[in-house]
């Protein structure tokens, strides 16, 4: 075992390095102890290189500053010298020892190094290998997000397959009248994307098809798709979920039953497409916002769009009842100002307004906060606010993949650590509506990170993986399924060995190295190289030794 001590340019005054090297040199499995001033710089690296090439050591212990800073540097150095970096053990004698108090801390430093040596003795080599991965990506859902992801990926040379439940692509694009603030109209955008997809031989489209089963892991997902009557399974490297959202007027939000003169945004868009077909032009149209869902931006955007369209095409009076308009997304502020210039009246309420029928028209009664008095406003049509909900089948799919959903049922309630579109399961990305990002611009950011994520994962056609860093010993494994159930990354599968025995097996590429499974395994069958039980206990043991000696 070779030991390198670094006194950080002589700054660690309260550690007596010669004493430490004197104490530890006596141990028979210590080949040498070098004291250097700066292991992180050129000079230190040369010292380590020469030592390792000349001595035949099978373990390296480096006592220096925090592993968080230098570990990756030492690992790359050792890799360069053909020395397996998993046989390196670090002791943090700067931040967690020398800097923790004034007086002499040599004894604590010695003990920390002893702990690192205890662990080093039991380290096992972990080989790095590259595993081939399937470069194809599955895109679930053919709405704006789905098509955009497929197009972006094919630009980077990745083949994708879009699976869309309905018979045509487009999803929500078909239901939106105009994007004020964006030059192109949704219709043109939809047509241009569809033609681009048809021309692009990197993208294959399967319409009125659905995924019935997802098995396997990142790099080799085995997906069963049912289209029409036939069912077939394909293999993909990654999956991008772009299943979008659906809107629904929830009766309990309004005491009145929708219908008659209470319509949805979609009905309004249909009316605006063919204004001439209307029997009677509605004089006044009211919009209601912020009754059932205060934080979603979608109602504000779609109401502003449609209000402007109404003013332009029908010229009828437009009143918008809202608590507070969410205009923080791009272009929404001018949209609001333009609506006001065009004569759309905005009324701000505190308690939700009362809505009731009054001789064939819908009356909205609310206390306007700005005017400070009750306002009763009969309108011909009331565009009710819709609650955005996840598409049907989300619940089934999410339990099949064991992916969490948030309280509204949208995917990806996971935490801040994972960058926006990724999920706990490597190789699965969620973009756009299905994770609650309902407006275009937010969806674009998701798409960008999902595309980059899957590209960096699959582009080379192979991925470097630490082979069997966390390994299930088939002899000891009782297939009690605990690890399969607890793994947050779904990286453990039940496999049938050639000896017909069924055991758990960890898929190295999907494993994120957290060790929850090895802690819970009742049969002690899961060995986690680098943090195995023996190694952790060795550190505890080393701490114990100094007790006896004192």
């Amino acid at each position: 075992m070779g030991i390198f001590l670094c006194d950080c340019g002589g700054s660690l005054k309260n550690i007596d390095f010669p004493k430490i090297s004197g104490d530890l040199e006596k141990l028979e499995d210590v080949a040498f102890i070098d004291i250097s001033h700066s292991l992180c710089l050129e000079e230190g690296e040369k010292a380590i290189t020469s030592r390792i090439l000349s001595e035949n050591i099978n373990r390296v212990v480096i006592a220096a500053c925090s592993p968080e800073l230098r570990e990756h540097k030492f690992v790359r150095l050792l890799e360069g010298l053909r020395f397996n970096p998993s046989l390196l053990s670090l002791a943090n004698i700067r931040e967690q020892c020398s800097w923790t108090r004034e007086g002499d801390v040599t004894e604590k430093a010695t003990e920390l190094i002893r702990m690192a040596m205890g662990k080093a003795r039991l380290l096992q080599p972990v080989e790095r290998e590259s595993v081939s991965v399937n470069k194809e990506v599955l895109v679930l859902g053919g709405g704006f997000s789905g098509m955009k992801s497929a197009l972006e990926l094919s630009r980077l040379g990745i083949r994708t397959t879009i699976v869309e439940g309905k018979s045509t692509l487009g999803g929500k694009l078909k239901e939106v009248e105009g994007f004020y603030g964006l030059k192109t109209s949704p219709k043109q955008m939809l047509d241009s994307m569809i033609t681009a997809i048809e021309k692009d031989n990197n993208i294959e489209v399967l319409t009125s098809a659905e995924v019935t089963r997802v098995r396997g892991e990142v790099g080799d997902f085995d997906i069963t798709i049912r289209g029409g009557r036939k069912e077939f399974s394909l293999s993909f490297g990654a999956i991008i979920f772009a299943t979008g959202y659906r809107t629904e007027i929830l009766p309990q939000d309004f005491e009145l039953k929708p219908g008659g003169n209470i319509i949805s945004q979609l009905d309004l868009v249909e009316m605006l497409r063919a204004p001439e077909k209307l029997k009677r032009r509605p004089e006044t149209i009211g919009f209601i916002l912020d009754v059932c869902d205060e934080n979603s931006r979608l109602p504000t955007l779609s109401s502003l769009n449609n209000a402007l369209a109404v003013r332009e095409k029908l010229g009828s009076e437009v009143y918008v009842f809202c608590k507070n308009l969410k205009v923080d997304s791009e272009g929404a502020e001018e949209l609001y100002r333009e609506a006001r210039n065009r004569g759309v009246v905005f009324l701000k309420f505190d308690e939700p307004p009362q809505i009731y029928c009054e001789d064939g028209r819908v009356a909205i009664e609310a206390k306007d906060v700005l005017l400070g008095e009750e306002v009763v406003l009969p309108c011909d049509l009331l565009v009710a606010e819709e609650r955005a909900l996840p598409p049907e089948g989300t619940k089934g799919l999410s339990s099949m993949l064991n992916i969490g959903t948030d309280f509204q049922g949208f995917y990806q309630d996971e935490n801040v650590h994972l960058y926006s579109a990724a999920s706990a399961r490597k190789g699965m990305f969620f973009v756009g509506g299905c994770r609650g990002n309902l407006d275009l611009r937010r969806a674009l950011t998701d798409i960008a990170s999902a595309v980059m994520g899957s590209y960096s994962l699959l582009a080379l056609g192979e991925a470097v993986v630490e082979v069997e860093k966390v390994r299930v010993d088939p002899e000891k494994c009782r297939a009690c399924l605990t690890c399969i159930r607890v793994c947050p990354h779904g990286a453990v599968q039940l496999v049938r060995l050639d000896t017909e025995k069924e055991v758990a097996q960890i898929y190295d590429l999907a494993c994120d190295g957290c060790g929850i499974c090895s802690a819970l395994c009742p049969a002690k069958a899961i060995d986690f190289k680098g943090y195995a039980d023996e190694q952790i206990l060795a550190e505890v043991e080393a701490m114990g030794e100094t007790n006896e000696r004192r």
Binding site: K476, R478, C480, L481, T482, R485, V486, C521, P522, A523, K524
Partner: protein, 220 residues
């Protein structure tokens, strides 16, 4: 599979009073799967015993071993063979069957059970096991849509729920537990086989298996 639960430490401690060298033996099958007596639990119990002895100063040496299956004589002797010589007492973390197999092989050494074997059951979710079979020797499941009333009904009734079912179809003795007969009713109704539940069933033959049971394979 057999489900067991570790005895409270107090009980175990009082069993092994006076013995200085103890062998703690785990088992790698049922009790591992139900987190009661596997290699991990052997480590935990041994650690507790060592802590206990070091706290009140009496030196106690604990040896740990785990047998593939404690109910097989060959496996016990193969695993424990040499470890047993200078042992004063054996603490078995197998189910009741394991304890008795070890006791039979090493008759001269006292063998103590560290677990309470509770029932034959299945995992409802990871870490939670429920009793579903009472090994009564006369299976009734064909007439109840696959839900056993003999064990999952607290009173083991063969004819329909008792009068004490709680609101929501819960059992009389435990508001958390579903009444087996309400479950049976719902399943048979789903299958359209409610006639099975309407049929009257004679008093059960409780001596179908002469206790203690013995089964001899024909070729033996």
């Amino acid at each position: 599979m057999i489900i067991a639960e570790r005895k409270p430490f107090e009980e175990i401690k009082n069993m092994i009073v006076g013995y200085k060298r103890i062998l703690v033996v785990g088992c790698r099958t049922c009790v591992t799967i139900c987190w009661a007596g596997g290699e991990k639990e052997v480590g935990i119990l041994s650690s507790q015993l060592r802590l206990q002895s070091s706290r009140n100063g009496d030196e106690l040496s604990i040896l740990e071993a785990t047998v593939e299956r404690q109910c097989e004589k060959e496996m016990v002797t193969q695993e424990l063979g040499d470890k047993v010589q200078d042992i004063e007492a054996i603490l078995s973390m197998g189910c009741g069957v394991g304890v008795q197999t070890i006791a039979e092989i090493y008759e001269e050494k006292p063998v103590f059970p560290a677990l309470n074997t509770t029932f034959v059951g299945m995992p409802e979710k990871e870490g939670l096991w429920i009793e579903t079979c009472g090994a009564c020797g006369d299976c009734f499941l064909d007439r109840t849509g696959g839900i056993c009333p003999v064990v999952r009904c607290a009173k083991g009734l063969l004819n329909g729920p008792c009068g004490g079912t709680r609101r929501g179809g819960k059992c009389e003795i435990d508001p958390e537990k579903d009444c087996a007969w309400v479950l049976i009713y719902r399943r048979l109704e789903k299958q359209g086989r409610l006639d099975l539940m309407r049929k009257y069933y004679e008093a059960k033959n409780y001596r179908k298996v002469k206790r203690p049971g013995k089964i001899e394979a024909l070729e033996a």
